[in-house]
Amino acid sequence: MSVERNVIIIGSGPAGLTSAIYTARANLNPLLVEGMEAGGQLMITTAVDNFPGFSDGVMGPELMGAMRAQAERFGTEIVQGLVTRVDLSRRPFTVTTDGAEYRADALIVATGASARLLGLPSERRLMGRGVSTCATCDGFFYRNKPIAVVGGGDSAVEEAIFLTKFASRVTMIHRRDTLRASKIMRDKAAANPKIDFRWNSVVEDVKDVEKGVVTGLVLKDTVTGARSELPLDGVFVAIGHTPNTSLFSGQLALDANGYIVTHDGTYTSVPGVFACGDVQDHVYRQAITAAGSGCMAALDAERFVESV
């Protein structure tokens, strides 16, 4: 028979951990389930220069370590594990992990978003064998080798710049003719001598599945339709993220892109369930906005728990 909690928080990025700090300080004894990517997206980044309060920047893992310590300091119970099922049909809600079952009067969903893939079978077959979604994790293996980054946003540029530390050449592949990254990042990419660009291009195939290792890409020009081959040893996919909401399909209202629909702050379609961070935000998606919404979710949850 599982013990009933006031609040369970699913997710351990800036949104989840901030909501933990606030609910713990409100004496709600929160339980937080970390998930597979404990610490969230900042764990695989290096310097974070835009989180306020750090005039010299801060390393992503360091920032998340500090948030986690802060959450624990006020009494958050942090569980390592993955939530495999939730039952939101009645309260207390049931949260099942790979090791246990929990129940709670209120739930804060902070499951964030995961790297989007191109969706090619060859991409899947060669994942980890030259295809990667994490520059900081795998850049190390491409010293003096030619590689590519697929994507045109800030994250793609950041990854490309990071990878120039190792690679002989980084080719940015983007389906348009200008990067959609912010100006400061676009300028940095243009100024970097190791970065070149394949504009108006999409990846049709990753070679070479037979050999079991990446040897090149087949690109298609979106304007002319022409195909070309780009030989390289590695490709990093940085085309954005999809919200981690498969747990909630059929139980929470989601928008057309799979994001949790929220109103009046962090309220979802189920009373007592609150959503914060990237799982419900496809506009801002910053660590600071995630942390801010985590605080909002905690305050909303606190008010909810007290009112019932």
Partner: protein, 108 residues
Amino acid sequence: MASENIQYATDSSFDQLVTSETPVLVDFWAEWCMPCRRIAPTVEALATEYVGKLTVAKMNVDENPAVPMRLGIRSIPTLLLFKGGAVVDTVIGAVDKDTIRKMVDKHV
């Protein structure tokens, strides 16, 4: 947090280590690799539970670059299962413990 049932493979000791009748699971990792840390407890648990039936070894790729390069490792964590010196199975990435166990159970 070293486990006494885990061996630490090096570039020079590797070939002899994996050439054995007993299956050998090699966990390629590095200090700076967060996902590697996530699967470390599962790998350690397997080392203890399968003692005698499976040899579990960890290889730090920072300290030992030659073997990983030779084996074509391009991402960590990578788990390779060896039998008699040949790779019989692979798991790449920070997968959940069930996936790792299922892979090992197929060969032990």
